[in-house]
Amino acid sequence: MTPLLAFSDVELYYDHVYALKGVTLEVHEGETVALIGANGAGKSSILRAITGLKRVKAGEIHFAGRRIDGLDPDEIVRMGLAMVPEGRRVFPYMSVKDNLLMGAFTRSDKAGIDLTLEMVLSRFPRLKERYSQTAGTMSGGEQQMLVISRALMAKPRLLLLDEPSLGIAPKLVQDIARSIVAINRDEKVSVLLVEQNSRMALRISQRAYALTTGSVALSGRSAELLDDERVKQLYLGGEL
């Protein structure tokens, strides 16, 4: 079966410094795949390459059977890919409602948009309470729910999440992790999750890739990686 998303030998540079050197990975339909690794290992660069925000220097990226490296972000997004960027990035002076409607920007099926809106509001009832509130005035956790919902409004086949637990209260991290699992299961959305919180990422994913300085160091089933001594040492910070 052809994977939904495939990277083959992707290289990416910022000026003359490489961020990715020969990364190969894939995400299959229905999977949740985690990318773990330290700061600067290249996790976010992978997401920027997928969405077209940063051009790759070599290698190929395929999504849903089409080659997407070299396309503009809006073209890629239209193919059924949605990203929750790092640091949340709500539209701060817009209402929750307008933020959600922006998520459906590429769609024009009014009835379908209403259905998706109903779905995200029942999944995150807090957003329903805050429906007319200005997004920038909400708490970090609420903003995270909003950007995940905003991405779902596009009805994506693949959801990219960049550090969804960063700067969120520990109790809410659990909630967000549960939401990701539920979205993957109920909405049939494949998920590519980038996390520094490796333990959380490995718990809620089926497979994972561990990155070090721009290349894949380890990969495999998440459950097995959780018990792997090398992973424990390098990515789970030991059991100190």
């Binding site: 969405t51 925000l53 503009d72 972000p73 809006d74 997004v77 239209r78 949605a82 990203m83 960027p85 990035r89 709500v90 539209f91 701060p92 002076y93 817009m94 307008d98 409607l101 922006m102 998520g103 920007f105 590429t106 905003r150 596009a154």
Partner: protein
């Protein structure tokens, strides 16, 4: 008193429309459009040509000004600003480009329409008079039209899909791109819209004060003052700045009348004090 207030309101509505266009372009593209006043002048001369010279109805002339300036704005964005923004690493490049466009438009306007001050036949005759107020009907009509345009623009930005996309782009460019907004297309729409507003005000005011080729620069300066007062890139700020400047001008002209032509001197001095206290204007935040 009522008279001064009514004059300020009438003037403020025109100014607010000019400032809205300028602030829209700034919010979307981070471009200070120094040619905004020249776009206003071009709009005025087009209304003059269509209404006074060709004898077509005023509404048609106003429409022609709007469409022409929207087209001019779209072309300027696509062929001048877009390539410069794409290739330049310094933000000053767009400012220099905007200044160059202002000079170019000044020269073209002079060439096409001459240096004479032009006026048009009254669009409606008669004067409204009451105990407190004397206001020609044409001023009332132009004031109402300007307020209607402001309302239409605000509703468009707030509730339409393109309006929402432009606000999103102004607030977070990358996030907007990730929603599928095409930066190129919406920059062009925004620039066209901003230029159109300037052109429409030029068309409206030609019916009252006439138009001449030299006033582009001074109009740009006023537009920048309004945006400084209200705060750059904010819709409410542009409207507030427009009405405040209109009101100050109206009050100044009546209160300072005995001291000679010093209204703008006083306004400039007050603005400097104001900006040293509140450098971001009244509501300095991105598009809300």
């Amino acid at each position: 008193m009522e008279q001064v207030f009514a004059n300020g309101l009438y003037l403020g509505a025109q100014y607010a429309l000019i400032a809205l266009g300028l602030t829209l372009i700034f919010a979307l593209m981070n471009v200070l459009n120094f040619a905004h006043g020249q776009m206003y002048v071009l709009g005025g001369f087009i209304t003059y040509t269509v209404y006074a010279r060709l004898g077509l109805p005023f509404v048609v002339a106003l429409f022609a000004s709007g469409v022409t300036l929207a087209t001019v704005g779209a072309l300027i964005e696509k062929f001048l600003f877009r390539p410069v923004i794409r290739r330049s690493v310094r933000e000053e490049s767009t400012m220099l480009l905007a200044a160059a466009i202002a000079f170019l438009l000044d020269a073209l306007i002079l060439l096409l329409f001459g240096e004479k001050q032009r006026g048009v036949p009254k669009i409606v005759k008669g004067v409204f008079t009451s105990d407190a107020l004397i206001m020609p009907y044409d001023r009332i009509l132009v004031g109402i039209l300007a307020i209607a345009f402001i309302a239409a623009f605000v509703l468009f930005m707030q509730y339409s899909k393109p309006g929402r996309a432009m606000r999103a782009l102004a607030q977070d460019r990358v996030a907007a791109q990730l929603m599928g907004v095409r930066v190129d297309r919406y920059s062009m729409i925004g620039f066209a819209l901003g230029a159109m507003l300037a052109g429409v005000v030029g068309g409206l005011l030609v019916a009252i004060t006439g138009i001449s080729s030299g006033i582009g620069g001074p109009i740009s300066i006023k537009a920048f003052m309004m945006v400084m007062i209200g705060g750059a890139g904010v819709v409410g700020g542009a409207i507030a700045g427009g009405f405040i400047l209109g009101m100050l001008e109206s009050v100044g002209l009546s209160a300072l009348h005995d001291y000679g032509d010093i209204t703008y001197l006083v306004i400039f001095a007050a603005l400097m004090v104001f900006l040293s206290l509140r450098p971001n204007g009244l509501m300095g935040k991105p598009w809300g």
